[in-house]
Point group: C2
Chain length 293, copies 2
C-alpha cells in the first residue's frame, strides 16, 4: 500500500507556481491577483479563506480579502461581484460558499465573469469542462486529477466508481474520468444514496472516489485487493485529542480499507491540500489568459 | 417484451404542443418561431432540416429556413447567427451540424444566444443541465427521458449502462439519469471504446442506452432478461429493399436482443422521432420564456 501524499504534492505544485510567478514578474509581467469574498463568520469558511490567502502569499500572488457581515443584501453582494468583474487588476476571484440563506448562491455564481471564475462553478465552465473545451475546472476534481497524474496511476479502461453526485465533486470528477486521454478513459459508475447494490459495485472498482460526506462510510468489505482509493470526505467530528476539539474524518474507514489498497489518500493530507493548489493554478492560468483571452 | 413506440409518443406530444400553440395564439399571444440554419448539401442534414421545418408547420409554429452554400465563411455565418440573436421575432434557432471543415463548430455554437439555443449545445445550457438548473436540454437525451416518463419505466436505484460518451448523447443522458427525482436517481455506468469488460457490465444493466453509432453492436449475450433497452443508433446502411438505397440501423441487434427485454425501442421509430419533438418542446419553452426570461 502506498500513501498518496497530497501535502507533499501540493507543496511541490506550489513551488512550481512560485517559480513561474517569479519568472513572469522578473520579465516585467503582471503579478497574478486573486480576490476572495467571504460573507459572515462561518468557522470553516474563515479557516479556508485564511488558508487561501496565505497560499497566495506563498506563491507570490497578490491577494485581496473582502469580508462582509451576513447582513449584506443580495443586491449589495452582486454589486461587489460586479466591481471585481470590472477591476482589470483582479485576474480571478471566488465567493466563499456557503452564503447566508437570504442570498441566492446560484445567482451570485452566475454573476461572476466566467473568465475570472477560478472556482469553476459558473455554468459556462461546468459546461465547457463537460464538453472537453478549455475551462476552469473546479478545485477538488482538478486536485484529484493532479494526484492521479503525479502518481502515474493508470486510468485507461479502469473501472472507476464515484460515490456521490454533488455538483462540486461527484458530477465533475465523473465527467473528467470518462474524458478522452490521460488521466481519463476510465469506465465510470456514479453511485449515490439511491444505489441499491453499492457493495457489489464497489467491489468491481479499480478506483474508488468517495465524496459523500459520511465519515467512515467505505468499509474494507467494499474494496477489492489492489484498488486505488481517493477519499474526498472532510467531515469535522468531535475529538478530545486536538486543541480545536475536532478532527477531520474522511468517507473511507482508513484502518479497514488501507491494507487492501495499492494507493490511498489519507484524511487529512490527501485531497484537501490539493484543493487550494488547484485554485492557485486556475488563478495563474487566469493571469496568463490561457483559458480565455 | 413491449415495443416503445417513439413514433406514437412523438405524435401525441406534437398534438399536445399544437393544442398549446392554438391556445396561445387564440389568446392573442405570439406564435413560437423556430429558425434553422443549414450550410451546404449534406443529404442527411437536408433531410433532418426538412423534417424539422415540416414538424414546425404541423404544430403551428412559424419557421424560417436559412440555407447557405458551403462557400460561406465563418465570419459570414457568425453574422447570420448574430442577426437571429437580435431578431425579437425568432424565439429559438439551431445551426444544423456538421458544418464544413473551414468553420469552427464550437465557435458558432458559443455565438448563439443561450436563451435561443433550443438545441441545448451552448456550454451554458450543458452546464446548467449538469448542475440541475432550468435549461434547454439537448434533443436526443430529452427525447429519451420523455419516452421513459411516458412508459412509466422505473429508474430510481436501477443500474443504467450508457454505451458511448459523446457530447450530444452519452454525457448528457448520463447526467440526466443520475439527477435527483424521476426520471433519474439511477446508478449510471458510462462505457466507451476503452471499456474492457463491456459484456460483464452490460449484463448487470437494468437499463441499457446504446449511443455509439456501430450497427448491431449490442448482442443478446450482453443483455440480461427483463432489461430495458434504448437504442440511439441511426447508422445508414446500404439496402436493396428501400427506394433510397439505404436503411437506418440501430446500435442494438434487435432480433437477438428484443426477446430478452421488458421494453425496447425499435430503429427506426424509437428515439429518432422524439428528437425533433424535443426541439419543438424547447422552442415552445423559448417562446413562453419559461427557461430564461
Amino acid at each position: 500500500m502506498q500513501l498518496i501524499d497530497g501535502k507533499a504534492i501540493a507543496d511541490q505544485v506550489k513551488q512550481e507556481i512560485a517559480a513561474e510567478v517569479a519568472e513572469i514578474v522578473a520579465k516585467g509581467g503582471k503579478q497574478p491577483h486573486l480576490a476572495v469574498i467571504i460573507v459572515g463568520h462561518d468557522g470553516g469558511s474563515e479557516t479556508y479563506v485564511a488558508s487561501k490567502v496565505k497560499s497566495c502569499q506563498q506563491v507570490g500572488f497578490k491577494s485581496t480579502h473582502l469580508a462582509f457581515e451576513d447582513t449584506i443584501t443580495e443586491v449589495e453582494l452582486l454589486a461587489e461581484v460586479e466591481k471585481l468583474n470590472n477591476n482589470p487588476d483582479v485576474d480571478g476571484f471566488i465567493v466563499q460558499l456557503p452564503l447566508p440563506k437570504h442570498i441566492n448562491e446560484e445567482k451570485v455564481i452566475e454573476a461572476i465573469d466566467y473568465r475570472k471564475d477560478v472556482d469553476g462553478f459558473h455554468p459556462i465552465n461546468v459546461g465547457r469542462t463537460s464538453i472537453g473545451l478549455p475551462s476552469f475546472v473546479s478545485a477538488t476534481p482538478a486536485g484529484i486529477m493532479e494526484l492521479i497524474k503525479r502518481y502515474k496511476i493508470e486510468t485507461s479502461g479502469k473501472h472507476c466508481v464515484v460515490i456521490g453526485r454533488s455538483n462540486i465533486v461527484g458530477k465533475p470528477i465523473s465527467g473528467l474520468m470518462i474524458q478522452k486521454g490521460y488521466p481519463g478513459d476510465a469506465t465510470v459508475t456514479v453511485c449515490h444514496s439511491r444505489t441499491k447494490n453499492l457493495q457489489e459495485i464497489c467491489l468491481q472498482a479499480d478506483i474508488i472516489i468517495a465524496a459523500i460526506g459520511v465519515p467512515n462510510f467505505v468499509k474494507g468489505s467494499m474494496v477489492k485487493d489492489g484498488a486505488v482509493v481517493i477519499d474526498v470526505g472532510t467531515t469535522r467530528v468531535p475529538s478530545t485529542e486536538t486543541k480545536s476539539g475536532f478532527r477531520l474524518c474522511g468517507d473511507v474507514d482508513f484502518k479497514e480499507v488501507s491494507p487492501k489498497c495499492s494507493y490511498i489518500t489519507p484524511v487529512p493530507g490527501g485531497v484537501g491540500p490539493m484543493t487550494i493548489v488547484s485554485l492557485l493554478k486556475n488563478t495563474l492560468l487566469a493571469g496568463k489568459k490561457e483559458i480565455f483571452k
